[in-house]
Subunit: 336 residues, 2 copies
C-alpha cells in the first residue's frame, strides 16, 4: 500500500468485492430502487421487541447473507468493520456479538460505510487480513428516537430535512478472487462551515464532500471525467446542488450527469421525504444494491464512491453547536 | 504487515511512538499517578461553556502538545484516529475539526485508545501513513450526563460501580525515528456473557479481555511471562480478579504481579471511587503518562497493553439488554 498526495491510499493489492448484500424497508422498497435491493422488509420490526433490536437483526441478516454468498461461516471472516447512528453503535456491535468475528467499531455518521471500505481495503491490501466484511445500517425509527422526537408526536418536518432510510448494506472484501476491485481510498477531514440547522444536513456535509473529492482528484492526478460515475452518499437534492456550486467556484469540472446522490435517488418526490434519504444505511444499501450491480453488469467501469456524515449529536445541537461534516471515498473498478 | 493466527497483526515495519501526552483532571491528579501525567487540569471546564466542549478542548490541547513534541504542525499529521464516550464521539470529532488532519472516527467504548493504536500502527506499517495520532478521552461529567443521572441528584453508586476518569491520552506514531515501537496488535471479538448490570463493567468486560489476551498469546506463540508487564484498561479491582480466575480456569499462567489495571491504579481507595477508574481516557492517559514512561526509563522492555470496552448504551440498558464487551491489545517494545 502506498500514499498518494495528502489523503489518499493506493491499494497495491486491491481487494476484490467478493459479495455484497442490501436490505431495505418498506418505504425504500416502494422507491425507484426497490427492485435492486436483495431483500425488502415486510416488517420493519423484524419480529423484534424494539427498533434498535430490529436494526441489529437487519445487520445480522445482511452480514450472514453476504458471508453465505461468499461461502464463509459467520466466524470465518477475518474482521467485521462498521457502525450505525445509534448511540455507541449498538446495532452493529450487537450484531457483531452474534457473528463472533473480530470487530472494528467505526463512527463517521452517514459516511461510516465508506470509512469501513477504506479501512477494510487497507488492511487486506497490506496483508493483515484475507477478508473483511464492511457494513453500515440505519433505521428510520431508531434515528427518530436518537435524534428527534417520538413518532407519535407527528412532528412537522421542514423542506430541507432528510428522511433516515431503513436500510443496511454489507460488502465482503477478499484478498483473492474475481469481482470488482477497490483500488484506492481517500480519508476525510472534519470540515465545519458553521451550519447549525440540524434539519439541513445537505448544507452541513457538502463542504466535506467537496474537500474529500477534490483531494482525491488532486492526489490521484485525475479529473472528474476520468470516472464513469461519481457517487455521493446522502447530500440530497439540495446538498447535491451545493456541491456542484462548490466545484464550479473551484474551477473543477464535474459533468452533472455523472454525479449521482444515493439519498436523492432512494425515494420518489411523491414519497414526500423532502430533501432526500439519509442515514448510514443509505449509501451502504444503495451502493451494494444498485451501484455495484450496475458496474458488474457492465454499465460502468470506474466509479468514485463517497459517503458523507454530519458529526453532530443531540447534545451538541442542544448546545447550539454547528455541524461538522466528514466524507470518505473509494475508487471501485471493474477489471476484465 | 502479516497476520499471526486468528486475530493478530504483526507490524513488519513497527511504528515508533514518537511522542505521547496525557492530561488528567483534579481528582486524577490527587491519585497515586498524579505526578506522572503531563498536565493536571485546574478547571475541569477548561474555561468552556459545557462539559462536552471541555472534553473536546482537553483532546485538542493534548493532541496539540503531542504534535508540538514531535515538531509537527496540527495539519501535519497524516491522520487522527480516536473516539470517546459521548454520543457520536463529539469530543473527538469537534477536536478534529480544529486540527484539520484527516480523521478516522472509532468506537470501542473504553477500548477505543488501543483500537486506535492497532489501526494506526497497521496503516503506518503498511506504508499508507507516515504518522498517526492516536487518542481517546473521557470526562466524568460528560459520562454522567451520557449514561447516568444529573450530578445534582447526588445519586448513590453501588460498590461495583466504576468512576469515569476525566482524562485524555495521545500517542503520536511515526514510521521513522527513535523510541518505543509497537510490534503487533490483536483485534477483539465482541463477547457477551449475559451481564446486564450497567454498574458492573468489570464483569461485563473481563471475558472479552480474556478472549483477546489469550488469542494474542496463542497467535504469537508466547506465554504471559514473556512480557514484563500485561496492562488492562479498566477492569477495576473486581474485574481484574475475574480475569485472573478466567486465566486460571483455562490453565494459562499469568503471574499476578505482572498484571496491572489502569482503572485500579488511577485512584486511591480513600478517593472512594468504588471499583476503580474507567472511561476511554483511563487507559489512554495511564498508558501515555505512566506505562510508556516506565518503559522508556528502562523499567520494562516488553509490555502487552490492552484496553477493554463495554458496548452498551443508555438505550440498550433501558431495554434490558446484556452488555457486550470488546478488547484490543498491542505489544510495545523498547529496542536498544
Amino acid at each position: 500500500m502506498s500514499r498518494l498526495g495528502a489523503q489518499t491510499l493506493r491499494y497495491d493489492r486491491p481487494p476484490v468485492i467478493a459479495a455484497h448484500r442490501s436490505i431495505a424497508g418498506g418505504k425504500e422498497g416502494e422507491g425507484p430502487l426497490g427492485k435492486w435491493f436483495d431483500a425488502i422488509l415486510e416488517d420493519d420490526l423484524l419480529g423484534q421487541k424494539s427498533w434498535e433490536l430490529a436494526e441489529s437483526e437487519m445487520v445480522r441478516r445482511c452480514a450472514r447473507d453476504a458471508l453465505d454468498d461468499a461461502g464463509l461461516s459467520p466466524g470465518g471472516v477475518d474482521a467485521l468493520l462498521g457502525g450505525d447512528l445509534n448511540n455507541h453503535i449498538i446495532a452493529t456491535s450487537f450484531a457483531a456479538r452474534k457473528l463472533r468475528a473480530p470487530f472494528l467499531g467505526l463512527y463517521g455518521a452517514c459516511s461510516t460505510f465508506v470509512e469501513a471500505l477504506v479501512l477494510g481495503a487497507a488492511l487486506i491490501s497490506a496483508g493483515g487480513l484475507d477478508s473483511a466484511l464492511c457494513c453500515a445500517s440505519s433505521h428510520f425509527c431508531t434515528a427518530e428516537r436518537q435524534f428527534r422526537f417520538p413518532l407519535e408526536l407527528g412532528t412537522q418536518r421542514p423542506p430541507q430535512a432528510s428522511w433516515t432510510a431503513t436500510a443496511c448494506g454489507c460488502a465482503l472484501l477478499r484478498a483473492e478472487g474475481r469481482g470488482l476491485r477497490i483500488t484506492s481510498g481517500t480519508l476525510g477531514r472534519v470540515i465545519d462551515m458553521n451550519i447549525s440547522d440540524a434539519n439541513h444536513m445537505g448544507a452541513a456535509m457538502a463542504p466535506a464532500v467537496f474537500d474529500t473529492l477534490s483531494a482525491h482528484l488532486a492526489d490521484t492526478r485525475q479529473e472528474a471525467a476520468d470516472y464513469d460515475l461519481i457517487v455521493t452518499g446522502d447530500l440530497g437534492w439540495i446538498g447535491r446542488n451545493l456541491l456542484l456550486e462548490l466545484f464550479r467556484k473551484a474551477g473543477i469540472d464535474v459533468p452533472e450527469d455523472r454525479l449521482v446522490d444515493c439519498g436523492a435517488s432512494l425515494y420518489r418526490q411523491e414519497q414526500d421525504v423532502h430533501a432526500g434519504g439519509s442515514g448510514c444505511g443509505c449509501v451502504a444499501a444503495v451502493s451494494c444494491g444498485w451501484i455495484m450491480k450496475r458496474i458488474e453488469r457492465g454499465e460502468f467501469r470506474r466509479v468514485l464512491l463517497s459517503g458523507s456524515g454530519a458529526m453532530l449529536s443531540p447534545t451538541s445541537s442542544q448546545q447550539g453547536q454547528s455541524i461538522p461534516g466528514i466524507s470518505y471515498a473509494v475508487c471501485i473498478e471493474r477489471g476484465d
